[in-house]
């Protein structure tokens, strides 16, 4: 199926949609309402030709992994396809692909069918009719040539060469449009537009709409999912999924049922489960703005009509929100989220089936009557709805034994509603467990220290010389510590990060209240440059792996790691944020140069 392969290559590469030709319907208007997934490649040149892509390509093109990938048969086939485009259009492949697809590409994927592949229909709009015709003519000539190559041996002298096995082809007409079939592929060229499908019905459905003969409306998601950037431009790629088809899947139906039979999806995905239950569509748009790439995901439903039991899952415009991000020195990753587990606990009979609720209640009652006498109900009552995690490079160690590969320190910061209850009921239990564990293993001791008015309980491991030159030295990456201060419980892998977080809490404002612009249910930030610094920490391990596992020379391995480090530095930060409002839910993920930090 070489022709289809070429088309597929084009579809993957994408094109630019230009709504220009008078009287020509928008390609998405040719898409049937029963489409499960619609992908619109609006501004593809941005995908392969933007400052970040150029920069990164410059750094990685000489690395072993990329060189290997470039020498693979798959890439070789792509290269051949690109050469074919160049040969048939007489321009370089980038220009050729751009001209062939400059009006954009729309790919519609139908719902799953029980006994065959889903119908996939692609509509490719070229810059003009002539260039498309030139290309299609070349493809057809190639098909003919492949079917009967020049110089193919004849069976007997004087006879013509035997027919070689080639894809079956046929020409037909539908509603006065010329249609072609090549193997299982069906296509029609209408003006500057190529419509191609893996099913006759797919092609005909698009042609029906083109001829104005369709009786139903086209694929029609809510207008709020037609995303644009600040300048009013559509995203480079927009994918719209029809959730009704997902909901109709038996497995999905089970997962979306509330009250649920499984507590874990409710605990970890509860709010998202509710969104999928209520929204008919969701969309994701990729925007490219200079070196920054932003993915925006939208659901056209919000707090209005939300499942009663899941209030408390998302921070909304009318509730508290996620706490501000903490950025101690050397931060690699920082996240904050809002989740009111007390509300979820209180609504447990709406969220879980009665059997699960009865079991939870029994377990809670048992925990409240045994040992430290703390049940889930007590914990969610004491602990607040604000959570933060941080990973940061360690600055200094409390140990004399130096660890060659120093792991990042990490910490969890949780708001506490009732500090008194925490100190009275939970802290003694934690301390007892720590003392008991350390005493029985003879591994170390707990050292309480004061810092800015907070009492930090830190575990200091005993330094054993025999651990120094073995993998056990990893232990000296940790001096776990916790403290309760300023309404927050801080638990860290090192006492240093706990101290740094106290400094951060000192200088940060309280969690934003309703209406503040930076409000979010969850937000996080990964410093790729910080991640790059970690590569340096693990340089010797990575070099060894590259030499022994990939067969690189040590010099090549070092160069590869350096390239990766440079790439990570250029990529900047990966940030994400989500927020629910009355009528929609949004997730924004951004990769780009680090923004100014507060």
């Amino acid at each position: 199926m070489p022709v289809f392969r070429v088309f597929l290559s084009i579809v993957i590469l994408g094109g630019v949609l230009r709504l220009g030709v008078a009287g020509e319907p928008n390609a998405r208007e040719l898409v049937a309402p029963g489409t499960a997934l619609l992908v619109e490649v609006n501004r593809p040149t941005q995908l392969i030709d933007n400052p970040l892509a150029r920069d990164v390509w410059g750094l990685i093109s000489e690395t072993n992994g990329v060189k290997q990938a470039l020498s693979s048969p798959e890439v070789d086939r792509f290269r051949q396809a690109a050469r074919f485009v160049e040969k048939s259009l007489g321009v370089d492949w980038r220009t050729g692909i751009d001209r062939l697809t400059s009006g954009g590409i729309v790919v519609a994927i139908g719902p799953k069918r029980p006994d065959s592949e889903p119908v996939v229909t692609a509509i490719v709009t070229a810059s003009d009719e002539q260039i498309l015709k030139q290309f299609i003519d070349a493809v057809q000539a190639e098909i003919r040539r492949a079917a009967n190559p020049p110089g193919a041996p004849a069976d007997k002298p004087g006879e013509s060469a035997p027919e070689r096995k080639s894809p079956e082809t046929a020409s037909t007409e539908y509603r006065s449009f010329a249609c072609q079939r090549v193997g299982n592929g069906h296509f029609s060229v209408v003006g500057r537009r190529l419509i191609v499908s893996n099913a006759k019905s797919g092609l005909e459905a698009a042609l029906d709409r083109l001829a104005g003969a369709a009786t139903d409306k086209p694929f029609d998601p809510p207008q709020s999912l037609r995303m644009v950037d600040g300048a009013g431009k559509p995203p480079a790629i927009l994918a719209t999924v029809n959730l009704k088809f997902i909901r109709s899947e038996p497995n999905a139906q089970a997962a979306l049922t509330l009250p649920a039979n499984d507590p874990l999806p409710v605990l970890f995905l509860g709010g998202y489960v509710d969104l999928v239950r209520r929204a008919d569509f969701a969309a994701a748009g990729l925007f490219v703005d200079g070196p920054a790439h932003e993915l925006k995901i939208r659901f056209p439903v919000g707090t209005e009509g939300a499942y009663q039991g899941l209030r408390g899952y998302f921070a909304s415009e009318t509730t508290e929100a996620a706490p501000p991000l903490l950025r101690p020195p050397g931060t690699i990753f920082t996240a904050g989220w809002f989740r009111d587990y007390k509300k979820l606990w209180d609504a447990r009979s709406e969220l879980l089936n009665s059997e699960l609720v009865a079991k939870l209640d029994a377990d809670n009652a048992k925990a409240q009557s045994e040992g430290p006498k703390i049940g889930v109900a007590d914990v969610v009552q004491i602990v607040g709805p604000h959570f933060r995690v941080v990973a940061a490079q360690q600055q200094e160690s409390v140990y004399k034994i130096k660890v060659e590969e120093r792991l990042p320190a990490f910490a969890l910061v949780v708001s506490v509603r009732d500090e008194g209850a925490f100190r009275q009921r939970i802290a003694p239990a934690i301390d007892s467990l720590l003392w008991l564990g350390l005493a029985s293993s003879n591994l170390g001791e707990v050292k309480p220290v004061e810092y800015r008015g907070a009492k930090i309980n830190a575990v200091r491991f005993t330094e054993k010389p025999e651990f120094a030159n073995s993998d056990k030295s990893t232990l000296y990456n940790f001096d776990p510590a916790y403290t309760l201060t300023r309404g927050q419980l801080i638990v860290g892998s090192t006492s240093e990060i706990v101290r740094h977080l106290i400094d951060e809490l000192e200088r940060q404002p309280a969690p934003p209240s309703a209406g503040m612009p930076e409000r979010a249910t969850e937000h996080q930030e990964l410093s790729l440059a910080g991640l790059g610094e970690l590569l340096k920490v693990y340089q010797s391990r990575l070099t060894r792996a590259a030499v022994l596992h990939q067969g690189l020379s040590p010099a090549e391995a070092d160069q590869e790691i350096d390239s990766l480090y440079q790439v990570l530095k250029r990529l900047g930060d990966l940030t994400s944020r989500n927020l629910i409002s009355a009528d929609h839910f949004e997730i924004d993920v951004r990769l780009g140069p680090a923004a100014e930090k507060p």
């Binding site: 492949a146 010797s540 022994l548 067969g551 040590p554």
Partner: protein
Amino acid sequence: MNPVQETLDHLQPDAAWQPFVPDSSNPWNDVKVAHLYRRSGFGTNWATIATGVQSTPAALVERIVSGAGPEETGDFEAEVARLREGVVKGNNALEAKALWLYRMLYSPHPLRERLTLFWHNHFATSNAKVRSLRLIQQQNETLRRHALGRFDALLAEMTIDPAMLIWLDSDTNKKNAPNENYAREVMELFSLGVGHYTEKDIQEAARALTGWKVVDDRATFDPAQFDDSDKTVFGQTGRWTSGDVVRQCLSQRACAQFLVRKLFRELVSETAVPSDALLEPLAAGFRARNYDIAWLVGTMLRSNAFFSAAAIRQKVKSPCDFLLGMVLALEGRPSLTQLAQFCDQLGQSLLYPPSVKGWDGGPAWINSSTLLKRQNLAFELTRGSGQSLRIDPARLPAEYGVVGAEKTAEFFLRLFHQEVAAGALMSIVSQIEAERAAGAAAFYGDLRGQGDLSSASARSAAHLALTLPEYQLG
């Protein structure tokens, strides 16, 4: 009689070990150069063979025995030390094997690695029992340090090597409960061979070897556990220690003969069995030079015997020879952990020899299962995808200016076999032509605009040349 044996038997002891001097009837050619590189290392590439043919046997052997200069060696050892530290700390056996393969492939002194492998098989110690990559690596370094040094020093160090102490239970050999394991093996396998000692010698030597144990990864002598009384070994009585036992073994006449015979099998031929008389000049010289291994090895590699028909292709390639030979010839850089796994699959798990006797070697390397695996691995390494991506047989013909089906087939036959048998050539050419015809109608066929072979055909040619039965012989 076996013609190879006949050839060997015809060699006069005096002439056999004289340096080989080529003449018109017995010229210096690629067959002999490739043979030298296979036995003194693990093989080499086309360019090195071609350069070797331009040299002389004496000069080439001299270069191989002396290895690279101190600067190059120093750089390489620094790289290895950097890798070794992590491997030992991580206690990763697969990486430890891969690191040794790295040395075998890229060492500036391949003969030293070849002999390190030989001594690893001679003093076969398995990490399966030692269970410490640190100690096994330490032993490996000792073998390497003495690989071309003096055997008396090597034997003395191995006797109190921590891994060896654990492997042969010397760390439990105490005054009141002597353990005879090491005493038996030092005579039977390490220095004399069966028939050159008595049970009494073993019992007495075991007592002399008491008192050693491993503390903090070091061999430590504990006088309290040493049997300080008189012992009689090889008819001599005294308050012998472990050092004395080593000295007494080395003083036996059988010792040099035993080692020379074993090295003959490693470096010269395992098909023909040499007579004592043939080996005696070497044994006498070895003894006279205080067990100087470099002299013995150099003498063997330079000799008429080494370049005779009794030696060339008279060994079955070990898994290391087979795999590394392919990699070196094809100038690739594959995953070394993958190669280590391939070695394991073919029966040569480095650092884990099957017993104190080491690997049997010779025809034992080949059976129906390992032969099939060898063919499959040859395919794996030449197919140009997956782990073998960094081995590209298709690149070589172009680099050496070889064009066309017949020339490509000839190139790979010469590269791997240094001979071009007409039948083999025809078979490979017809296979290439068939593949080429099948590919001619491919959609992208003429877009390449090249008259040379497609990379798939070149890979096929390399693979077919490697699957000829002769390639199993080194």
